[in-house]
Amino acid sequence: MSIKSPESNWFKPPEGSERLWVGVALVWCMVMFLAMPYWHVKGKQNSTGESYAVTPAEFQKRVNRFVETNKVGEKNGIPVVEPSPGGDAYLMGQMWRWYPILKLKEGQTYRLHISSVDLQHGFSVLPININFQVLPGYDHVLTLTPTSKGIFQVICNEFCGIGHHLMTGQIIVE
C-alpha cells in the first residue's frame, strides 16, 4: 500500500480494466517503436548522423575552395554559390553567419557538408522547419533534396553567444 507495507500476498498479475490497459498500452508502445525502423527504410526524412572528423581550419579551407569554384553571384556582399546537382555543397557555421548562400535546384540531391569553425550551432531552415545540430570537429553530411522552390532562411537555433540572433543565412531553390 502507498504509505503502509502491503499485505503479504501482493504479488499477482493485473486483472480486469487494469489488465486491459496494460495490454493496450504495450501494443501502442510497440507500434511507436516499429514506426521508426519502418520510416528509416521507407521514409524520406531521416537523421542518419553521417559525419567525419574535420578540424575547423581544414573545414574552412574546403568551404573556401567550394566558394571559389562554384560562385555564381553575390548578395549583400555574401557569395552565392551553386553546387552541381548530385555533388557536394558546403555550409559553414560561424559566429555569427551561415556562409555562403547556397543556390540549389528543386528535386536534385546534394551532399551538404555542415560544420562549425567555432562554437556549436543549430542549422534550422525556415519556414519549412528542418533542424540539425552542428558541432565543431564534425563534418555533418546531410543528403538533401529540396522539394519546394523559393528563398529559404537559415537561422541558428543553438545558443552561440551574444550575437546568436544575428546569425542568418539563405538557401535559394529554383
Binding site: 500500500m1 502507498s2 504509505i3 503502509k4 507495507s5 499485505e7 501482493w10 504479488f11 480486469g16 487494469e18 490497459w21 496494460v22 493496450v24 498500452a25 501502442w28 508502445c29 511507436m32 514506426a35 521508426m36 525502423p37 520510416w39 528509416h40 524520406k44 526524412q45 531521416n46 537523421s47 548522423g49 548578395k75 549583400n76 553567419r97 548562400i101 562554437l119 556549436q120 543549430g122 534550422s124 525556415l126 519556414p127 519549412i128 522547419n129 533542424n131 540539425f132 545540430q133 558541432l135 570537429g137 564534425y138 538533401l144 533534396t145 522539394t147 532562411q153 537559415v154 537561422i155 537555433n157 543553438e158 545558443f159 551574444i162 546568436h164 540572433h165 546569425m167 542568418t168 543565412g169
Partner: protein
C-alpha cells in the same frame, strides 16, 4: 518496531505516522532551500517570458541569456533536487518507521548543496557564466561555475547515500514488516536513478572544470553532449519517479486511495530504473556522429518500456482514487466519483492537475518529439521547452506544491494564512503553465527557436523572421508566463508566511483543507483490508478507463499528425 533514538521522534497527530526529529530538521532545511531557489527561478521565468513575448521584448540580449542560464539551473536542478532530498528523507524515515541514518552526513550534504548552488548563482549573476544551463563547449564559463555544480552533485550523492543507509538500517532493525510501502519504493527508484545521473554529471563536469582551468586542452563537443545529457535528461527522470511517488502519497492522504495491484505499480517503477536513462538520446537525435540504430533504440527507452511505465501510473493513480471514492458511496454514473472529489483541497487539486498536464501535454509531446525522425521538425525549437514545461512545471512542480500544502502543517507544524488563496492557487498555476506550454509548442511548430533573444533577427545581414501567427503564440506564451508566475508567487508567499509566521499547531491534528470527518473516512477506507467488494470495484473502473482511452486517442492523433507534417518537408538523410 521503530529504531528511533530516545526522545528524537514524535507521532504525527494527523496521519499517525512516526516522524524522526532529525529527519524533520533536514526535511525543513531542504524544503526552505528549495523554495528559495524556486523563487529565484520564478523571477527569472517572468523576465524570460516577457522577453520572448515579442511585443514586449523586455530584457537586453546579454541579460536575457544570463537570466535564462539562472532560470534553467535554479528550476531544473536546485529547486527540484533540493525538494527531492526532502522527499527521500521523509520516505526513508516516516514511511519505513526508522530513524535517519546520520545527522552529520546530512549536514555535509546540505552544506555542499547550498554552497554549490550559491556559487553557481553568484558566477552567473556577475556575468562569468553566460553559457546557459547546458554549458556546451567550446563555450566556457568561470571554473567556479563547474565547481559549484560539482559541489551540488556531490552533496546530492551524499544525501542519497544517507537515504540508502537509512533504508539499510530500517531493514536490519526490522522496523517494518514485509515489503516496503509503495511510496518509499518509488522514492528508492528515484534515488537509484539519481545515482546513475550524478555519476554522469561527475564524468562530464570534472573534465570541464579542469578544461576551464587550462589543465585539459580540449573537450570534444559531441562527447560532452553525449555524457552531459546522461546528467541532463535522467535528472528529469528522478523528478518523474519522485513525482509519481508523490501522486500515490497524496492520493492516499486526500482521498484514502490505495493501489489496485502492487505488482503492477512496482513493476512500473522497475521499468523506470532499467530504461528511463536511455532517454538522454532525445537530445542527440539530429546530432552528427551517432547512427540511426543507436538513436532509435535509445530514444525509445528500449521499445518504450519507460513510456509504458508512465502510462501504467497514469492509470493506477486515478483508478485508485476512483475505487476509494466509490467505496465512499460516490457510485452514480461514470464520473460522480471525480466530480465529488475534494477539489477544494489544494493537495488533491495539485496532484490531479499534475497528472492531467503531465499525461495529456507533457507525455504525448515528449514521446512524439523524441521519435527519431520527428525530432527533425522539433529539435531546438520552442516545441522542446513547450514539452518539458508541461512535465517539469505542470507535472513535477505542481505535484510538489500540492505536497507542500501538507508538509507545512504536518512537518513544520504551522498553519496557513489566507487558505482561500491556497485553494485557488493550483488552478491559477496550472492554467498559466498550460497556456505557456501551448504557446511555446505552437510557436515552435513554426520553427521559432528556443533560447533565442530576438526572433525578428533585427540587424542580421540576411533578413529572417516569422509570420503573425507565430508572434500570436509568443503572446500566449507571455500571458501564460505571467499567470504561472502569479500562481508561483501566491504559493511562495503563502508558504513563507506559514513557515515563518504561521500559528503553531504542534500537538494538534490538521484539518485545514478537508473537514475532519472526511479525512477520517478516507483513512478508514484506506486501512480496510482488500476484501471482495474492493476487488469487485477495482476490476471495473469505468471513469478511469474513459479517461485513459481519451488520452490514448489524443496521443494517436498528435503522433500521426506529426508524421504527416514530417512527410511534407524536404527529403533528407
Amino acid at each position: 518496531m521503530g529504531n528511533f533514538l530516545e526522545g528524537r521522534y514524535r507521532t504525527c497527530n494527523t496521519t499517525g505516522l512516526p516522524v524522526c526529529l532529525d529527519a524533520q530538521f533536514f526535511i525543513k532545511a531542504h524544503a526552505v532551500a528549495a523554495v528559495v531557489f524556486f523563487l529565484i527561478g520564478a523571477i527569472a521565468a517572468l523576465l524570460i517570458a516577457l522577453t520572448r513575448w515579442s511585443a514586449v521584448h523586455l530584457l537586453p540580449a546579454m541579460w536575457f541569456y544570463r537570466v535564462l542560464t539562472l532560470h534553467g539551473l535554479n528550476m531544473l536542478i536546485f529547486w527540484i533536487i533540493s525538494f527531492e532530498i526532502a522527499i527521500l528523507y521523509f520516505a526513508g524515515t516516516s514511511l519505513l518507521n526508522s530513524r535517519l541514518f546520520s545527522r552529520k552526513v546530512a549536514w555535509v550534504a546540505y552544506v555542499l548543496m547550498v554552497v554549490g548552488a550559491l556559487m553557481v548563482d553568484y558566477i552567473v549573476l556577475i556575468g562569468k557564466g553566460d553559457v546557459l544551463m547546458t554549458s556546451y563547449p567550446p563555450l566556457k564559463a568561470h571554473p567556479l561555475f563547474y565547481l559549484g555544480i560539482i559541489f551540488f552533485a556531490v552533496g546530492t550523492l551524499i544525501a542519497v547515500f544517507n537515504f540508502f543507509a537509512t533504508v539499510y538500517i530500517a531493514r536490519r532493525d526490522k522496523t517494518y514488516e514485509g515489503s516496503m510501502p509503495l511510496v518509499a519504493y518509488g522514492a528508492l527508484a528515484a534515488a537509484i536513478i539519481a545515482v546513475v545521473t550524478l555519476l554522469h554529471g561527475a564524468t562530464v563536469m570534472i573534465p570541464s572544470f579542469l578544461w576551464s582551468l587550462g589543465l585539459v586542452e580540449h573537450i570534444d563537443a559531441g562527447w560532452y553532449r553525449l555524457v552531459w545529457w546522461g546528467l541532463g535528461h535522467p535528472s528529469q527522470q528522478i523528478n518523474v519517479a519522485a513525482m509519481v511517488a508523490v501522486w500515490y502519497f497524496m492520493a492516499t492522504l486526500t482521498t484514502g486511495a490505495k493501489p489496485l495491484n502492487e505488482t503492477v505499480c512496482r513493476a512500473a517503477f522497475v521499468f523506470y530504473i532499467l530504461f528511463i536513462n536511455l532517454a538522454s538520446a532525445h537530445h542527440l537525435l539530429v546530432d552528427p556522429g551517432l547512427n540511426a540504430s543507436w538513436k532509435i533504440w535509445n530514444t525509445s527507452y528500449a521499445m518504450y518500456l519507460a513510456v509504458l511505465a508512465s502510462m501504467i501510473h497514469g492509470f493506477t493513480v486515478p483508478a485508485s482514487i476512483e475505487v476509494a471514492q466509490r467505496l465512499k458511496g460516490f457510485t452514480r454514473g461514470i464520473f460522480n466519483w471525480l466530480t465529488s472529489a475534494p477539489w477544494g483541497d489544494p493537495g488533491f487539486a495539485s496532484i490531479f492537475l499534475s497528472i492531467v498536464i503531465f499525461g495529456f501535454i507533457g507525455g504525448i509531446t515528449g514521446v512524439t518529439l523524441g521519435t527519431e525522425q520527428i525530432n527533425i521538425i522539433a529539435h531546438n525549437t520552442l516545441r522542446i521547452p513547450g514539452h518539458f514545461h508541461a512535465t517539469v512545471v505542470g507535472g513535477t512542480t505542481l505535484a510538489f506544491m500540492g505536497l507542500t500544502y501538507y508538509v507545512v502543517p504536518l512537518i513544520f507544524q504551522r498553519d496557513f494564512y489566507f487558505k482561500k488563496w491556497a485553494r485557488v492557487q493550483p488552478y491559477i498555476f496550472a492554467s498559466g503553465v498550460v497556456l505557456l506550454s501551448l504557446g511555446m509548442s505552437f510557436a515552435g511548430s513554426y520553427g521559432v527557436p528556443r533560447r533565442h533573444w530576438d526572433v525578428n533577427f533585427t540587424g542580421a545581414p540576411l533578413s529572417a523572421g516569422f509570420d503573425a501567427a507565430a508572434h500570436f503564440f509568443l503572446g500566449v506564451l507571455g500571458i501564460g508566463g505571467i499567470l504561472a508566475f502569479t500562481g508561483a508567487l501566491i504559493f511562495i508567499v503563502l508558504t513563507v508566511l506559514a513557515v515563518f509566521f504561521g500559528k503553531s499547531i504542534a500537538g494538534q491534528p490538521f484539518h485545514g483543507w478537508q473537514p475532519a470527518e472526511k479525512f477520517k473516512l478516507s483513512m478508514e477506507i484506506f486501512s480496510r483490508k482488500k476484501d471482495e467488494k474492493f476487488e469487485q470495484i477495482a476490476h471495473k473502473v469505468p471513469g478511469t478507463v474513459v479517461l485513459v482511452f481519451v488520452l490514448l486517442i489524443s496521443f494517436m492523433v498528435y503522433y500521426f499528425a506529426n508524421w504527416k507534417a514530417l512527410a511534407d518537408v524536404w527529403w533528407v538523410r
